[in-house]
Symmetry: C3
Subunit: 277 residues, 3 copies
């Protein structure tokens, strides 16, 4: 898979408006990431306005991190409207498996909205794919991670979910998987310190929405672009806030700086993408 | 217009409590900005308590960035109570024009609450002034900016909105306008990197609320103080996080640091304020 | 009181999931603090899911900073379920005394939920203890602070609230008090700059929840561990962002870094804890 890095240029050139219905924990970081990519974030979650907001947007991101009974109808209405308008929709199934409210919302969303991309951590993606995963809050447990040992089986699982939903499926972790029904890529960028701050997964979904807004007809490439951006920026930030120089506070600041200054040639040079299926 | 910089001293001396009904995207930055000025932030948005919270506050800021059907009644109740108590109210009409929900809320707010200041970006202020502006999310499009070329016309537009509402009208952008019915000032401080982080506009409204809380009888001066604080702090932060040293993550940190350490003499010395009408 | 510092090791070793029903102002900082301690944060506030979320968590933190009529039932349901499951619950009574909504919610919470710890600023704790305190927003006024002059009387007040509620009572300020019915400790760590950022109190409650999740049977030690962590980290951050090097933006970043890199021997060596009753 080549050429995905150029979607970064497209984002910087076209300033896609990205509508997010997301959680209040990491929303500020998500907005700043979209800006750092050249996009324009708008957060709006009242059922009375989301259809109009999605109409002026290039993409929609639905993140169920702090969903409630009032925002689920907004997610459904916005998602259907985006479908009708042909705008790409990203789903971040935060905490899938952790409660009936989340699981029922996910069932309705997957039943009523067509997603361009579904991006979760490995535990969330396994849950959506039908595995009996014991949810451990919103962070993936070690037993659900994608590893070199389970890479092919994990890739088939993700490809299966992609075939069933029509979405590009992204399972994030030490190894990220980006799956279409018949092709799966592994992204081996990133740094363990991304798990030391809240919201790296949410930011990845926001970045995915921005890349899809810039390249709506190239969903696999947009997802690869987004995951390599987050991974490479994580590597740069980890180098800048080495343990003797800083912790998660510094890392988080440098992560945003790194996304902002990343160029598509640098991204292409550093991306470690491999077809695994 | 002289003497506005001394309102910064008044804020540091009197610790005004600033009640904000605001969006969940930038609320943390707004609270930290109020603290950096010497004020005391309180966020509260349930209709059942906002009238009591406004009663213990020096000023109220209403920001519709992520309004919903539950917070609009709170905005109206708090605004009317603040009016009854003689406390200044600031309106930040985020995303004006982007949805009926926002436009209807703004119509009710402007009809039922008397604002001391209305601070929006140039697109939002043009919308409120009656121009047919195509909303582009929450960021102003280039075609709506205040420029040297349209300065007098823009000043007249803002003065007209001020005359109609009784509020000091602030249109933020590369050139900020601060408008009374019969006098308009341009503020030429600031840095383009303020648009590279989310919430610079929201922070400006929060700072405006804090300055008004410290000087409720000097609304034009308080607005000039607030806009020069944000502009000068933006200049300082941009110098500290020069492109080779940092991006929006660093800039945002230095912006808060700069507001915190700004003195009124430094503000007066660096402020670039000119009467344009 | 010895051995409390080792709870930091327990947190890093056991990765407690901490469920927070908290305000949207400081929620991101609270999540990052829990991660910096080795815990796993999950924020969820819909009444339809909080009982299930608390069931997969090691501790629950209830913070009423931006409570509303929809989240109060969630707080009650989650608190009762945590009690039934034997999981520790922390209350942060933000803005106690500032509105009937807050006071009524606190009365119901204290009547229906058994708290392992109640952590407020000195004004909030005095209010809960029955003093006629004039609420000044969410920041404590100078007249309510715990000082060397009123130390014994303040300790008796906190011990009385502890006896009445069964909770360990923590009153934060320049001198922190940690009170059981028959023993009270003063913590003399910390730095005034903690009051220059929003959320230091909320973060202290989140840290308390994480420590209690790691040591549910040692509530006084967990509270001492939490307050010394925040105090020592505040001292380290203040040294790193000295006035000539930075303001509250830098301080906030270094605070998170300091919590992340703090070891239990360093904590034990720097902690200034003294029995005062």
């Amino acid at each position: 898979m080549n050429g995905f890095a150029q979607i970064l240029d497209a984002a910087r050139r076209t300033t896609p408006v990205v509508h997010s219905i997301t959680n209040y924990v990491t929303v500020n970081d998500c907005a700043n990431m979209i800006l750092a990519l050249g996009g324009s974030p708008i957060m709006a979650d009242d059922p009375d306005e989301v259809e109009q907001i999605v109409a002026i947007s290039a993409a929609l991101v639905i993140n169920i991190g702090t969903l409630n009974r009032h925002t689920v109808p907004a997610m459904l209405a916005a998602g259907k409207r985006a479908n009708a308008l042909g705008k790409p929709v990203v789903l971040d199934p935060v905490g899938a498996g952790a409660s009936d409210l989340r699981n029922n919302a996910l069932a309705r969303l997957l039943g009523e909205v067509r997603f361009a991309a579904i991006k979760g951590n490995s535990a969330e993606i396994r849950f959506l794919a039908g595995s009996a995963v014991a949810a451990r809050g919103v962070d993936a447990g070690d037993d659900t991670l994608v590893t070199e040992a389970n890479l092919t089986a994990s890739a088939r699982m993700a490809a299966g979910l992609s075939a069933r939903t029509g979405a590009v499926v992204v399972a994030s972790g030490p190894i990220d998987l980006v799956a279409c029904p018949t092709a799966v890529w592994a992204v081996r960028n990133g740094n363990a310190r991304l798990t030391g701050i809240t919201g790296a997964g949410c930011m990845a979904a926001a970045v995915t929405g921005c890349c899809l807004g810039a390249a709506p007809d190239k969903a696999p490439e947009a997802c690869l672009c987004a995951m390599t951006i987050m991974g490479v920026a994580g590597e740069i930030a980890a180098a800048q806030s080495a343990p003797d120089k800083g912790g998660p506070g510094s890392f988080r600041m440098f992560l945003l700086d790194a996304v902002s200054s990343l160029s598509s040639p640098a991204l292409a040079a550093r991306a470690r993408v491999e077809a695994v299926l």
